[in-house]
């Protein structure tokens, strides 16, 4: 359980990072959100063998990390933490796709391996970009941006509530698990027979709490809309930020920049 609690503290760390005051932090959340979305879409839409086209995309996360002074090791650890998902998705590619694609003389690389690495790289890029977005803006800031961008409010409210009550829920769960472990002296793992009612109990408590929260909201005049007043200014800086990064992503998506660069340099010499 300690692991989960620690991970939650990590989420709080991200919030702490988001309270920084560099120029990138102060940018309107909407600008960062849109840029991140364009980044993710262009990266994901790259062909599965086009590893060289992915190289220019590394510039964005690097620029953000340097510009906002984010802790690199922390981010890499977070990416590593979720990497098993990507590994599982790509793990069978080398077995299924054995067509040789790359021949380095001593070693021929099959299409499966190339697509496997391309999945890993795209995964690292997109997850990294999403983490950077949260570190620069904070979870709530992202929600506000969604709201301002006219995302249907039920979705935004769901996200806000998820974030607010995640902590309460985990604390409740860890209290229950502690209570169980203090009374199960054999200290073996939790048996299924115990786990199921514990989960049920947690669900019931959650429903109870949801009901109380709803009542408290009704008592303060809730009518289905959450209104948040948060002045946001989408100015000159935001527009240039979104425009230039998006332009760069789209260029990098459509043209193989590294090859162009290579030709250019080869042409000069």
């Amino acid at each position: 359980m300690a692991a989960i609690e620690n991970n939650l503290f990590d989420i709080r760390t991200m919030d702490t990072l988001a309270s920084g005051s560099t120029g990138l932090h102060r940018l309107d959340p909407r600008a960062k959100l849109i840029t991140t979305l364009v980044f993710i879409i262009t990266v994901v839409s790259l062909g599965k063998y086009e590893i060289s086209m992915m190289i220019p995309f590394v510039i964005y996360p690097v620029a953000m990390v340097v510009g906002a002074d984010l802790p690199v090791l922390y981010l890499l650890k977070k990416i590593l933490l979720v990497s098993p998902f990507a590994l599982l998705i790509g793990i069978f590619n080398p077995l299924l796709d054995t067509r040789p694609l790359l021949d380095l003389g001593f070693l021929s690389l099959s299409g499966g391996w190339v697509s496997f690495f391309s999945i890993l790289i795209r995964f690292a890029l997109t997850v990294g970009a999403a983490l950077i977005l949260i570190c620069l803006t904070g979870f709530n800031g992202v929600c506000m941006a969604l709201e301002k961008l006219k995302v249907p409010s039920p979705f935004v409210v769901q996200l806000l509530f998820l974030y607010r009550y995640l902590f309460v829920l985990v604390e409740e769960a860890s209290r229950m698990i502690r209570a169980r472990s203090l009374r199960s002296f054999d200290s073996g793992g939790m048996r299924f027979k115990v786990f199921v009612p514990l989960l049920g109990q947690l669900l019931l408590r959650t429903l109870d709490r949801a009901q109380r929260i709803h009542l408290a909201m009704l008592c303060r005049g809730f009518d289905g809309h959450i209104r948040i007043s948060r002045p946001m200014a989408f100015g000159y800086r935001e527009t240039t930020f979104v425009f230039f990064w998006s332009l760069f992503f789209i260029l990098a998506r459509c043209y193989n920049l590294p090859v162009y660069m290579g030709n250019l340099i080869a042409g000069v010499f």
């Binding site: 709530n140 929600c143 806000l160 929260i213 008592c219 303060r220």
Partner: protein, 266 residues
């Protein structure tokens, strides 16, 4: 001003599972009065409170808040004039920051942003929590959460304050601060509590509930002096009114302990 009256007339409530909640309750609370609602666990205090602003609807009888009898039509007006502070501040504080949370009520009233901000600042000042305005609620201490929950209600500027166990889970100093705060309010107050000492400080009138009915209703001091009544309702005198009989702890431990089980002999 007589219109901040709270009148309950013969309320009954049975929970869906058949448990009796409250059983024929009537009282009238006039403007500016401060009333403590005391009783053992399960006496029906919280159930009664939830009736006052229409969170629960009684099977029989009715409630009047001010000039309105509580119906689905007057619900909105009633909830505006009667503010309710819930027992667990975590249930009440759900917005991303303290400021947003206190602003939630006024925003729902449709006030202009300038006024919302004024009200939030004023409410936070009143409870002494101005410095918390940009903090996320889940990072606050218990006492701070409670103060913010109260500010969130004050920002709607209700005439009547209803509170469920306001002093529970507070450390002694936070509790004392809260009592001073409650004393400074001029609202009509209805406070459900087990903290009889707080009731003694804040409320001049006390209603005793037992198993869903009112067993006594009168001046707080008179009720707390009536030991029989308190005992029957599952209560005891406020600690301050109890005599202090120091029990020599050491002696008790070594010689006087109860022999309700045999000693183990090894």
């Amino acid at each position: 001003m007589s219109h901040h009256i709270v009148k309950a007339d013969n309320l009954y409530y049975v929970y869906p599972d058949g448990t009796r909640g409250i059983n024929g309750i009537s009282f009238t609370i006039t403007h500016g009065e401060s009333v403590a609602l005391v009783g053992a666990n399960g006496a029906g205090k919280s159930t009664l409170l939830l009736h006052l602003n229409g969170c629960l609807t009684s099977a029989k009888g009715n409630i009047r808040i001010g000039d309105d009898t509580l119906t689905s039509k007057t619900l909105k007006a009633v909830r505006r004039s009667l503010g309710m502070v819930f027992q667990d501040p975590d249930d009440q504080l759900f917005m991303p920051t303290v400021f947003d949370d206190v602003a939630f009520g006024p925003m729902n009233l449709g006030l202009p942003e300038q006024e919302v901000e004024e009200r939030v600042i004023h409410a936070l000042e009143t409870v002494g929590a101005s410095h918390l305005r940009n903090r996320p609620p889940h990072k606050l201490s218990g006492g701070e959460k409670r103060a913010v929950a109260i500010a969130a209600i004050l920002a709607v500027s209700p005439d009547i304050l209803v509170m469920d166990e306001p002093t529970s889970n507070l450390d002694p100093l936070s509790r004392k601060r809260l009592i001073r705060l409650l004393q400074s309010f001029e609202h009509t107050k209805i406070i459900a509590t087990h903290d009889l000492d707080m009731a003694l400080d804040v409320c001049e009138r006390t209603i005793v509930l037992h198993k869903g009915t009112i067993t006594a209703d009168g001046p707080t001091l008179d009720i707390f002096r009536n030991e029989d009544l308190l005992l029957k309702s599952g209560l005891e005198k406020p600690l301050r009114m109890q005599e202090y009989n120091p029990v020599p702890l050491n002696k008790k431990k070594t010689h006087d302990h109860d022999h309700d089980h045999d000693h183990h002999h090894h």
